[in-house]
Symmetry: C2
Amino acid sequence: MAKQIKTAITPTREEDYPQWYQQVIKASDMAENSDVRGCMVIKPWGYAIWENIQKNLDNLFKDKGCKNAYFPLFIPKSFFEKEAEHVEGFAKECAVVTHTRLEDDGQGGLKNAGELNEPLIVRPTSETIIGASFSRWINSYRDLPLLINQWANVVRWELRTRLFLRTSEFLWQEGHTVHSEKAAAQEFTMKMLDVYAEFAEKYLALPVIKGEKTASERFPGALNTYCIEAMMQDKKALQSGTSHFLGQNFAKSSDIKFQSSEGKEEYAWTTSWGVSTRLIGALIMAHSDDDGLVLPPGIAPAHIAIIPIYRNDEDRKTVDCFVTELLLKLKDKRYNEEKIRTEYDTREITGGEKNWNWIKKGVPIRLEIGPRDVAKNSVFMGRRDKAHKDKKGVQLDEFVNNIGKYLLEIQQNIFDKAFKFRRDNTAEIDDYQEFVRFFSPKNEKKPEIHGGFAYSHWCGDSGCEEKVKEELKVTIRCIPLEDVKQEGRCICCGKESSGRVCFAKNY
Amino acid sequence: MAKQIKTAITPTREEDYPQWYQQVIKASDMAENSDVRGCMVIKPWGYAIWENIQKNLDNLFKDKGCKNAYFPLFIPKSFFEKEAEHVEGFAKECAVVTHTRLEDDGQGGLKNAGELNEPLIVRPTSETIIGASFSRWINSYRDLPLLINQWANVVRWELRTRLFLRTSEFLWQEGHTVHSEKAAAQEFTMKMLDVYAEFAEKYLALPVIKGEKTASERFPGALNTYCIEAMMQDKKALQSGTSHFLGQNFAKSSDIKFQSSEGKEEYAWTTSWGVSTRLIGALIMAHSDDDGLVLPPGIAPAHIAIIPIYRNDEDRKTVDCFVTELLLKLKDKRYNEEKIRTEYDTREITGGEKNWNWIKKGVPIRLEIGPRDVAKNSVFMGRRDKAHKDKKGVQLDEFVNNIGKYLLEIQQNIFDKAFKFRRDNTAEIDDYQEFVRFFSPKNEKKPEIHGGFAYSHWCGDSGCEEKVKEELKVTIRCIPLEDVKQEGRCICCGKESSGRVCFAKNY
């Protein structure tokens, strides 16, 4: 058996949060840095989480009437330049394709050849290239609304990268919709924000705040950017999804026009919205502990890891038979309308190693099954939402009949824990000195852990926003959509304010 | 109602096959050329077919123990150069990223900036970048076999492109596996070829020939390349999937070593295998007719299109209620273990237009439902495997109870038709003059339609292969795996041969 370990992850969250994050990823075998600067390799355990995110979000999108399509990876530079704010926002960090082949350089190496007349940009986002298609597809108001989604890879050249949170290439979905009316586009922008919030809470067990970005944090070219923001365990905010009302900006730059029911030619109204593999970073940082990853059942690649305990071949046969029976009984059980996902771990390592392995991988339920359990017709269950030593024997039928309930409890407990953490680290602050203290390190050795979400008044002036950012590295994460209309005085300048906004340090 | 149309697609297959292909795609609204040279836009109807291909193939891969992962889009030039044949094979057609940002050029435009020290190649295939990860992941024989698949976009710069068949960017899956024994790797190579053949026949209704490629058509760097080849309706062959035994070539260039059970360090044995959006091209060209696309139920985005027929609001309400009942009754029905996929077409166009629309989109079953059908408690059914006028009334319950049977029949009929077409256009040929005639146009006006598959003897000499290719543009599609061991004389040089190979013109 593996030796007694106090916690599986070194350092702990308390000791060094950023380093803890890297170690949780390593210990759960989710991803690694690649040989290409800033690009990650998503390993099977991490990718299976992404597949579950994709599958469930995709169903939600299709419920709203969206259809998937696929558009080119490359965007001609001239397209990119059509929308002035847009190019300004993305030009500083893009991969530029300039050549179309490699040729013998006469010195045993290869040189670039086949230079393009116009360089191509590897898509950082696809408004402009999708807009070109939309302008061809749309003729009449009868063609609207057009609700399209794309699952794709995108590239934004990053200098300082961190697995899942900030990588030069990442995977995402980008929805792009076109409407005949301004109000319909605005409504759809909010509808997709709600989809993201619902998904985050129901599947990722991630409580989120819905809000609007200030002008300085808007998507380049958007009229309004809405977001969901979640609190990580270092009390920083992580933006987990965005939905943009683009007005007629992109319709004008891409010439997306339609004939109205009155026969008039009009520019359309568009939206775009996206979430990315960054969600996996949010998942890790919101729920994991010093034993490693903690996965909500809604998104876990495996709900149950089954760990056979045996000393000899006869034991092993006994356990195998019992597990076969268990798997058969679980076959018709469901969680969130999905089959129960199981991993039967038959590797040739010790039971103790396997147990720690699945703890670190965050699997919601571990079952240790040895000959004594078989004799008692029971399983020995450990739950990832409880302490790793807190295990108990459960009769086989009781376990099978309650599997849906256990998973639901685990999902709820993970959510509640994150919700409580956020509540405990959120404050309404009306005094700037208090505001400064709130965001200052409590301990010089742990500069990363401090603060939380401060709901404070803001006058609406970008100068105040900028001043706070410069002084404290604190930004307005969002202007919350709910429950904040209240008069007061700006935390920075003292002028009148009509509501509180959410300030935090952020990723 | 729409006016009587003889065929929906102009030109017909007989009149101009390549143009017919483009028109089928246009009429079914599957894809279009983009503004980026050689890159296509896959529209919702085409992408939904790809999603069905993905979903079903992915299940088959997972049944074989494969897991999905994701690797970088970019490959450093130096990685690419590690395997000599490999770089030789792909260097002539690759997208090269040389810069990482755009900068103001001082003249109102943008210039390339942030030049990379080492250019990055947009992956044309991922053996080298995946190999780098595998060499980190694998230490011991206990880590093997490693069975990984990736769904991704790849880029091979093409000058002459055709939607789905040959595009600069395409979507595919690439499987990459590592084994400790040569025989195990060879066996897995064949296993995945079988998966492709099974998938093509069961889902795409596409009869395929399994065989091995000759040396000249091998994947650059492979020891053996196996393929599935299908016959299109212009009698040309289309390679629809490949599986490569890579020996230790890539293990050596990527340093993929493992400690054997005897404690010796050894190079591993690898395989790779892939299919792409080209399968959609195969699907179109194998089954479609002069009325447009014909989709096998195994892969159709909708199994049934429901077309309401009404003259006034009251009719419409009657039909709506009836359709609601129909949809409810279909809810628990299955085809290939999947739910029955339906489209209720409520657009504001005539029933005749809708009917032609769904014919051209290839949907297997069309149901026209008007007040008279409701009164009789029946539906008026048209099947895409029958003539478009061949429609008949069916009692509602009879229809619902038999939906699985209808779809199975349609799937089988589509397969049988393609199988018969291939059989009728395949010949064993032992005389070169006859061989020449077989591959010569029968009609000067239709240079595209001629020949078929010729099973002829080949001595194994690449000179003969090259000569036939130069003289007739006919290549050896594969050395079939089955039923061809038979002595004879090479069709080209008359020397001894131990078996027939499959010659054809190809895409």
